[in-house]
């Protein structure tokens, strides 16, 4: 009898390698790899290329592990939201228990290997980042407070600090400036998404700002955080990681970003619905470019500095 029941398991339970990889949120991992690499290159100390490559890889695996733990915990709400319904667990491709096992195993492996390849401080920061994203953000904040994105953004902001610590073995103001850049960028980025993914968060019961405080308030918040971000991003140009290239990039991008946030603030729901949230969608796309180009400029400054150019 038991044989019959075991033979009736659905074929969907057989996940492919790609399904397991999708658990690790590859697009988030790309951002993690890029920002951690910039943090490492911007540091005043050089790193052996093999050790640097391995360290970035283990940071990426740690980020992927926390993504798998997030998908395991959030499988119920992922199923409800259009944006996440095709993820491996709600799509029935990977069992929740498998995602948990992969998340825990890769978390341990990545932290241990980063400690061996780089140093214990970097490994400790990676462990804290995984804990912060999987436990503090996913299990606690996300379903409890509209500030979920604000505080949870810290998890995504740690990679450049870890990259810096891999190179130097210690932390400094410049590393925390890169942290602050991602931390302040995260809320406007996600709130713009929440504005045009209209009913997703409502349906899932996630207390996003759009749900708890309304869309008008969310528009105000986007503008307020953007103003603070602009000051921080342009101010960073005058520190040790800045320079002419970074300043030029920051001035142009922040002017565009501020213009977008102002346009979002001025609009009401009727106007937004009339053009299918065109302004909010373009602001969201610009936010992706914004972060990529800011960190690209920091990397350019670092590479030029190593050649005797760049910086002030």
């Amino acid at each position: 009898m038991t044989d019959i029941s075991s033979q009736q398991q659905p074929f969907e339970a057989e996940a492919s390698f790609g399904d397991y990889f999708a658990l690790m949120k590859p697009r988030v991992m790309q951002l993690v790899v890029f920002t951690a690499l910039v943090g490492m290159l911007a540091a005043p100390v050089g790193v052996n290329p093999v050790i640097g490559f391995a360290s970035i890889l283990f940071i990426a695996i740690g980020a992927g592990a926390s993504g798998a733990l997030n998908m395991w915990w959030d499988a119920d709400i992922d199923q409800v939201m259009t944006r996440t319904a095709k993820r491996p667990i709600p799509a029935g491709k990977v069992a929740p228990g498998e995602a948990l096992s992969i998340g825990v195993a890769l978390s341990g492996l990545s932290v241990m290997m980063l400690a061996l390849s780089a140093n214990f401080l970097a490994a400790g920061l990676l462990a804290f980042t995984i804990f912060f994203y999987a436990v503090v953000y996913s299990m606690w904040l996300k379903r409890a407070t509209p500030q979920n994105i604000v505080i949870g953004g810290a998890a995504g902001a740690f990679p450049p600090v870890i990259g810096w610590v891999v190179a130097t073995g210690s932390m400094s103001v410049e590393a925390w400036l890169m942290f602050a850049l991602i931390f302040m960028w995260t809320p406007p980025h996600f709130w713009a998404l929440a504005l045009f993914m209209k009913s997703d968060y409502d349906d899932a019961g996630v207390p996003m700002l759009t749900v708890t405080h309304g869309r008008k308030s969310t528009r105000k918040h986007i503008l307020a955080y953007t103003v603070l971000l602009v000051v921080l991003a342009v101010g960073t140009a005058f520190t040790a990681i800045g320079g002419v290239i970074y300043l030029t990039t920051a001035v142009i991008l922040n002017a565009l970003f501020l213009k977008g946030a102002y346009a979002i603030w001025r609009r009401n729901e009727a106007q937004a619905e009339a053009d299918s949230y065109a302004v909010e969608k373009s602001f969201f796309k610009l936010s992706l470019l914004y972060l990529f180009l800011h960190f690209g400029a920091i990397m350019a400054e670092a590479l030029l500095r190593n050649s005797g150019l760049g910086g002030w």
């Binding site: 074929f11 057989e14 996940a15 492919s16 390698f17 790609g18 399904d19 397991y20 990889f21 052996n48 093999v50 050790i51 391995a54 890889l57 061996l116 390849s117």
Partner: protein
């Protein structure tokens, strides 16, 4: 008579096995490269025999 029809499930299972195999080999190579990078760096010191006792 042998059954030759292959279910799509077999393809997924194969991709998983090949993927895990490639990852394991890559991990071994990476640890080897890391070890080499560590022992050839300037500040590496071989532990003295008395400290190992």
């Amino acid at each position: 008579m042998t059954l030759k029809a292959e279910h799509e499930m077999h393809g997924r299972r194969r991709s998983r096995n090949v993927g895990v195999g490639v990852l394991l080999v890559a991990f071994v190579v990476l640890v080897l490269a890391l070890t080499f990078a560590k022992v050839t760096s300037g500040d590496f010191e071989v532990p003295r025999a008395e400290t190992l006792r």
